[in-house]
Every structure is written in C-alpha cells, then in structure tokens.
Amino acid sequence: MSQPTVILATASYDHTIRFWEAKSGRCYRTIQYPDSQVNRLEITPDKHFLAAAGNPHIRLFDVNSNSPQPVMSYDSHTNNVMAVGFQCDGNWMYSGSEDGTVKIWDLRAPGCQREYESRAAVNTVVLHPNQTELISGDQNGNIRVWDLTANSCSCELVPEVDTAVRSLTVMWDGSLVVAANNHGTCYVWRLLRGTQTMTNFEPLHKLQAHKGYILKCLLSPEFCEPHRYLATASSDHTVKIWNVDGFTLEKTLIGHQRWVWDCVFSVDGAYLITASSDTTARLWSMSTGEDIKVYQGHHKATICCALHDGAEPAAS
C-alpha cells in the first residue's frame, strides 16, 4: 500500500476507527477498538502512526498497514485519556487524563518518562509551539502551564471557578491561547515573552461564542492567510468561524444534525473537518462555508477526527 498524502481518520462510540479517502469519501479501513470508546485521535508528524486515546490506554496504529493490532500501547494512565499530541519532530508524546495527570512519553522507550499532577480530571492539553511548555485545562476550571525544562507548573489561570475547561488551543506562533468551556464562552489571552523566559498571559478578550456547550475550539494553522481564524464546535449543531482580529463572526457552518464534538483544519486552513454525534464527519470549504463532502459509515456518535495533509518534517 502506498503511503497516502492525506490521512483522515475518525473515531466513534461504536468502538471503531475509520480511515477515509478525503476526496471521494470512501472508507478504506476500519479498526475495531473494543476496549473502550476512543476519546481523541492524533496523527504523528511523520504520518506513520495514529494515536488513539481511550480508557485508560493510548494505542498507536500503523497508518500504512491493514493490521487491526496496535504497534504500541501506553498503559500507565488509570482513567479516560482525553488529550494526546506529539512534539513537532515526533520524538515524544504528551497526554492528559481524567486520572488528574499530564504525562510525557518517549516514543522510543517503554514507560512514562515524566508526569505532572493536576489534582483534577484533565480535559485538554496543548503544546506551546516553543515545544517547552504544555498547557492543560481541567474539570475544576484550572488552566495550568507546565514548564518542561523546569519540571514545574509555572502559571495557573482560573477563568471561571468550578466551570470545566473543555478545550484549549494555542496559535501556531504562540501569540494567543483560547480556552472554551461548557457555558459557550471562550477566554482569550495574549502570550507575552517575559524577562525570565516565562510566558505571561495577558487577558485579551471574552467571547460568548455559543449559547450551549463548546466542545472544541481551534485556532487556524500557520499557512492560513491572510486572516487568522478561531473555530468553535458546539452543541447547537454548528461550527462558528471567528476572525481573531476583533473576534467578529465570519461564518456559521450549518449542516450537522446533532452536536459537533471535534474539528480540525487542513494545513492551509482552506478546509475544516468536523465530527458530530449525527454519526458523520464533514468536510467544509472555509471560503464558501458549504460542506463539500460527508463521511458516513459510523453507527454511533462520531467523537473525534484527525487530519494530516501536510508534508512530513525533514529528518534531522
């Protein structure tokens, strides 16, 4: 099997992971994940593996194989793993779990290499583009910045006490951080580089994006020009596209029949993939706001999606 240039995968509460041809909408591979539901999907920067975060395992599947067996399993979390991601060169992986911990795993060696205790269920974790800071959001409403060089928590924010932080996103250049919660509110901070190399958070904006839950918020990638966008996926069945210069509403993507749980931009920001509990994933054109393709095949709520259509990083 030749390595696809575009890898699109979705996971559902029917305990399956599906791979799709982005253009035709055909499902060309289905992996059974019987142990639990899959909470998060992520593709490695080199496009070789797909990470599936469940309860409590993180399993890596070979993208270029038809084997239903994972090639690696990371098993020291004790509860749902709600966040997973990779360092830009793919050397290590980070994860956040409802067991209250954020962990870093060396992909080349077994076992967890590093662990940070958050004292509350972690719902979301993102890696700062500087590759030295992790930002986590938990069920109690705390946002913490973990300094990986100092191995400590360098900053703590609480936008709303006892309101769970559902999703976090950071701008590709590290200039903004956005946190979204179950009340439909997005909090935006500007990140400033301090004199002691610690990142300082300056409150910038409070955006009442939706009336219901915001299940995912995502800032547009590096090659999205000329504007920078924030996508918010909501329980009101829509995804709203906001211009981060002034936070005006650019578009409302309407088409899903139920909640929208996840979204991901294409590398150039021209397209958006969304996952919904109407059992489908959809491909949207950012220029027109129309859905171009519907990926149908799951039998239950589609919870997460992963897309990698960029180039692999050059080998160092």
């Binding site: 019987p34 309860n55 409802e98 719902n123 769970a164 909640w259 509990s277 059992t279 239950k300 709520a301």
Partner: protein, 381 residues
C-alpha cells in the same frame, strides 16, 4: 485377437466376489456418522427395531444425548465442583433454567449451573449473556462491577465458559419475560472455556475433614480486633468475598485447601450457615441475654439505629466511644442502653467499609461529561 484395454474392465458379478468382502451391515456396534448426519442415521436404524419409537421422540432422545455443549470440560468440571460441595444428585445441575422461565413467582434462584452461549457488551460496561443448561436458554446481564474483581476479567466470561451462580435475582418486566441479574456476589465460580478435563482438577477430601475445621475458623475470627462488633451478615459477606477470591485459583496449597473447603461448604449448606451465624452472635455478646429474647430486642434496636443514621449521616466515632466508656465507668450494664450503642458502632464501620469499597471499585467508563452530553452521545443505543 487381443482384448482392447476397456474390455479388460468387463468383470462379471461372479468374479467380483473374489475382490470384495461384504460389510457387516447388521452390526449395532457401528458408530454413528459424525455431525448432523448421525441423527438421520440413528433414525434409520431405529426403524429396523422390532418396537421402534416415534421419529420425533427418537430425535429428541438423540439430541439430548449428543448435545456437545454438555460434554465440554468446563461443564463437566462445574458438575464435579457442585457435587464435591455436597450437592445431591437431584441438585447437581442447580435450579433448571426451564423452571425459572415457567415459574412466575421465582424472585431469587439459590443455585444455577449454566453455560455461556453468547456474550455481548451493552456499551455501559455490562455484558449481556445467554445462559444455557440442559433444560433451557435464558438471558442474563452481568453487572460491570463484576469485572472490577481482579480474577473476573471479561476474557474469562466468554462463549463456552460455565458459571456457577448463587442467589441470583430474577427480573421479570412482564408475564412472559424473565432475565437474570448477575452481580459480583452471585458468582461462585467460573470455569473458563479452556478448562482442562475434570480428572485434572483439584479434588476435595471427604466430608469429615470439613467438619473439624469450622470451630477453628470461628476461633480465628474471634481473635480479630473489633470482632466483638461484627454483624453476622458482615461475616457472611466476608466469607463470600474470600470464597470468590479463593475459588478462582485452580491450584490451592494444602494449608489453603481446608480453608477453601470450609468457605465453600458454608455457601452451600444453609444449616451450617445458620448454626454458625447463631453461634457467632452468642459468642460475640458481652451481655447475658437468653436466646429467646435476643431476636426481638435486636429488631427493635435496629429500627432505632436506622433512624439515628438518617439523622446523622456521619456520626462522630469519638463521641460514641466516649459514651461507651462513660457507661462502662458508671457500671450501667442494662441491655437496652448498651445494645443501641454497639449497633451504632457497627453501622458506622459498615458505612466506612462501603465508602472504601466504592472508592476502590469506582471506575467511570465514560469521560466526565454532563448528563446532557451523555444523552447526546448515547442517543443511538
């Protein structure tokens, strides 16, 4: 003229007998053809008997005798296990599933031996199984907490395994439907699909050995700190917990074998259980009460304690301890004054134990979604 090659194959019947021997078609000792065709063959043979059974009756008999589900190692091991626990021949199979299906009054079944025919997760962590015994097939639900026990993984409860269950609740949503609700306390033993033959399983010694150990067991239990305040029910539950744990191991050391036998015996012999509970209560009492008065007094005190617990969900133990000490100092040994305090102490301990158990066993399967989010996710179930 030489014969053509094909003409050489022209053999008369008279010459054929020189090469072939007639088979013994009248022999009854011939085995049946394997598989479903064997049943047809058996019917054909039946018709040649002088007094043949009707075909339908004969087929039913053949089907019962050749049901492969009940010739498996797990099933035979289970029967041996039940028999060795002192079960009579009449109850070797436990309560027939057909009697559960036909009896509308059944609420709890004392003993069931059944084979798992199908196993389906329901998405919440529970498993729906179809259980089969020689009389019928019945649907059951295995509660998710069963799988929190380290020796009862989902990999064990697969198609082909055999369960020994006790005191199983029967759920009947309407007159024609019955289900079994299987919880952790119901499972006595599980024989996995890949169990070895019965002869390789551990065998138990004769009954007289069992009778000599109950007194030692009680003696050991009394030496445990705090045993004075233990409830008979709590002891019974403890015994059952130990039984579940011990019965999961196929290889048991000699010193542990006797203990396992005692525990197993207790679970199946209600008379011994009753005697043991009564003796335990008597030995645990610090007060001189006659047996005739013990029951009514406890019932009344229990009612009072329940209301107390409702008023104070977390009664302070230190105060209760102080009260006990004060009463001892005052020399007040009245039964009506002492028993409530003792029972209160037991209730507090039970609550503490329950909380610990919940903390240990709690394992959320789904993320920390709100009810609204979960309803959205599970809308397709």
């Amino acid at each position: 003229m030489d014969l053509e090659p094909w003409e050489a194959l022209d053999v008369d019947d008279t010459n054929l007998s020189a090469f072939l021997r007639p088979c013994n078609s009248n022999s009854d000792s011939s085995s049946l053809i394997p598989g479903p065709a064997g049943a047809v063959q058996a019917v054909m043979r039946n018709r040649r008997h002088h007094d043949p059974l009707s075909t339908q009756e004969f087929l039913k008999r053949v089907e019962r005798q050749s049901d492969r589900d009940f010739n498996t190692n797990p099933w035979l091991c289970a029967l041996q296990f039940v028999h060795l626990q002192g079960g009579d021949d009449d109850v070797a199979h436990g309560t027939p599933l057909s009697s559960i299906q036909n009896n509308a009054e059944t609420e709890r079944v004392p003993l069931i031996v059944a084979l798992v025919k199908s196993s389906t997760p329901n998405g919440f962590g529970d498993i729906t199984v179809n259980l089969k015994d020689p009389t019928a097939t019945l649907t059951a639900t295995v509660h998710r907490k069963v799988f929190s026990h380290p020796d009862l993984r989902k990999e064990i409860l697969t198609v082909g395994s055999v369960l020994i269950l006790q005191k199983v609740a029967v759920f009947s949503p309407n007159r024609n439907t019955r289900y079994l609700n299987i919880t952790l306390h119901n499972i006595v033993k599980v024989f996995p699909k890949d169990s070895g033959p019965p002869s390789q399983q551990l065998t138990y010694p004769a009954c007289p050995v069992i009778r000599t150990t109950p007194s030692m067991e009680r003696h050991e239990r009394l030496l445990t700190p705090g045993s004075t305040f233990s409830l008979p029910l709590e002891r019974t539950e403890g015994i059952m917990s130990n039984l579940r744990f011990d019965s999961s191991f196929r290889q048991v050391a000699d010193s542990d074998r006797q203990r396992s036998e005692v525990l197993a015996s207790t679970s199946f012999r209600s008379d011994n259980g009753n005697d043991q509970n009564r003796e335990t209560v008597s030995e645990g009492e610090n007060l001189s009460l006659s047996l005739d008065n013990a029951g009514p007094v406890k019932v009344n005190c229990g009612g009072e304690l329940e209301s107390e617990v409702e008023d104070q969900p977390n009664p302070p133990k230190l105060d209760e301890g102080g009260d006990i000490l004060a009463r001892i100092a005052q020399g007040n040994s009245s039964a009506t004054n002492s028993i409530p305090t003792s029972h209160g102490e037991k209730t507090g301990m039970e609550n503490h134990f329950e909380r610990q158990t919940q903390m240990v066993n709690k394992k959320c399967s789904f993320p920390h979604w709100t009810e609204e989010q979960l309803d959205e996710l599970l809308a397709f179930d």
